[in-house]
Symmetry: C2
Subunit: 338 residues, 2 copies
């Protein structure tokens, strides 16, 4: 039975278990610091398909089939799947899942989708709305670039604040009974907007939402950053991370010694040309479903906060002069179930 | 506490109450059969804004402020809002809600969004995940037409199977304690795909999902169509409704004498040129949040099923030769709370 302690923060006393997780990565991501941790790296970024959109769909299907296999479950064992992605009308998710015949709840949370889908999966299991729930999302550099910025063939220059959309997918299954990692609580984000209008500076657009969600959760749970071994954001990149530190420091909160951003973990910025870091739904999904959950499972960390951020604009809204609203959902993941 | 009786069907024993509902409509919709039932009809389809996208956002804001006023609640009284729309990256929802500061869960369910958001709101309240939840969605003919089909100025011919995207928004608030209408159960839809590839025949693409969800719910609850005063689909239009009858008749189910489609209720097809009927998130939202809920509240109907359908394709997926997957979520709404 969920324990609501504020408008935003809900503790999950049954501590739903993350039964299995799987991450699939593209070539560039497979050459980065997490290369040993992915379940599958595809050197061919088309994933054997004829279009980039079909490639992204295929990558998500790979993540789904691998997580089912690792959990030793069939699609009919899953009560509900929460999924979404960056593509218009979330086609990667709808097409990747149409064959599995699992009750489907489509999400749109931009790059926050991994946190949104994990949060909802955990809430559903804790509340008895599902015995097992699946969360899945993805992004692909080539589909995102041509949808949000320029055709790849155009060879557009990238600004230093720009982030690199990750080619990756992550999937996990939450269940009522199982081993660590466990989900202990969530904080549902509110939309924040400090007026950033630069489509090439999304880290800055999302940082205010991340600061707000983290402050809300710490206040509601009467905890401090020191109560968590690590606080992971995704995907603020370098620019957004610096702004997050500044916003939090105004409230007397310092997370610098225990903060990592998924957009900075996925690539080696010295040797891989990704400017301010990685982004895209697949960035935090790929890092969570390989690196982070493994570190909790193997005991490196006891308690972590996973807070994926999303920028909720579209090219149309930006062209019409609108600023970029951001959101951040938070999930408290622990090695301890009680 | 929710009572899961199958993978898809969940009964809500606490019978959450729909505390208030509000519908906003455009000029054409305001000239149709439901003209007396909307909270607001705007004769200017720009809603006073400079772009169609901003107009849709404004229409959704009108629906949100009106439903809060009718429920005599402030945004801070709402624990969570579920919202989504048809526009790329669901900008109508994100921008309309950024000022309200309510924990936000973004959805993408295409034209099924009203059922998806009402379903999740009711599940959250029944499970104790929220005391009060808001659901909101919208569509606008001019934003949808230029995004999914042709620029308006092109004056493209419409096929007889085409549907007319409604300019409308609907919003409602679900709470733990209140009067009728009550939500008694839900059925979470699975993605169905019978291979329809015609972007101008979305009713046919969605009918298989509607048939599947309705059959599943009737079987799980051991009820028949005769146990419900009315079964509302949205938005199959005439072509999709006929296909739904055919698919159900193969299973020995006949709903013809008690079925209405929101896409056929919203317009007078004799005098309003909408071809196979209305569509868009705002179609079923506008009809639910004016006509249907009023008829349950005033006792005309004791029990209704509301089943909004969505077509989960994008222009890109259709151009790449993909068929159109469909989904339908079902909500059982009753005048009785037990």
């Amino acid at each position: 039975m969920p324990n609501r302690i504020s408008q935003s923060t809900i503790l999950l006393p049954s501590a739903p278990s993350i039964l299995a997780y799987a991450a699939v990565a593209g070539k560039k991501e497979g050459e980065g610091p997490l290369r040993e941790e992915f379940d599958l790296i595809c050197d061919d970024t088309t994933f054997g398909e004829k279009t980039w959109e079909k490639a992204e769909m295929r990558m998500q299907m790979d993540a789904e089939s691998r997580v089912l296999k690792k959990a030793d479950l069939r699609p009919s064992d899953i009560d509900v799947v929460f999924a979404g992605d960056l593509l218009n009308q979330c086609i990667s998710s709808a097409y990747s899942l149409r064959g599995l015949q699992i009750p489907y709840i489509g999400l749109y949370g931009a790059c926050s989708t991994m946190a949104e889908s994990l949060m909802l999966s955990s809430m559903f299991v804790d509340a008895g709305l599902a015995n097992r729930a699946m969360a899945v999302t993805s992004s692909h550099f080539c589909t995102a670039e041509r949808q949000f910025r320029f055709p790849l063939e155009y060879g557009g220059q990238r600004t230093p604040t720009a982030q690199w959309t990750a080619t990756a997918a992550g999937s996990l299954i939450v269940g009522a009974h199982g081993e660590a990692p466990f989900v202990r609580g969530v904080c549902v984000g509110k939309i924040g907007d400090l007026g950033i209008k630069d489509l090439n500076n999304m880290g800055a657009a999302m940082a205010p939402a991340a600061a707000d969600t983290l402050q809300t959760f710490l206040k509601d749970t009467k905890t401090s950053p020191q109560d968590y071994d690590r606080i992971f954001t995704g995907d603020l990149g370098q620019v957004g991370s610096d702004l997050l530190y500044e916003l939090l420091s105004r409230e007397g909160i310092d997370i610098k010694d225990r903060h990592d951003d998924c957009g900075l973990l996925l690539y080696d910025r010295e040797t891989q040309d990704v400017h301010a870091g990685g982004s895209g739904c697949g960035c935090s999904a790929g890092v969570l479903c390989s690196h982070i959950l493994k570190l909790v499972k193997n005991g490196t960390y006891e308690n972590v906060l996973f807070m994926a951020t999303g920028a909720l604009m579209s090219p149309t809204s930006v062209q019409q002069g609108e600023s970029i609203p951001g959101i951040a959902h938070l999930v408290h993941i622990s090695r301890k179930g009680e």
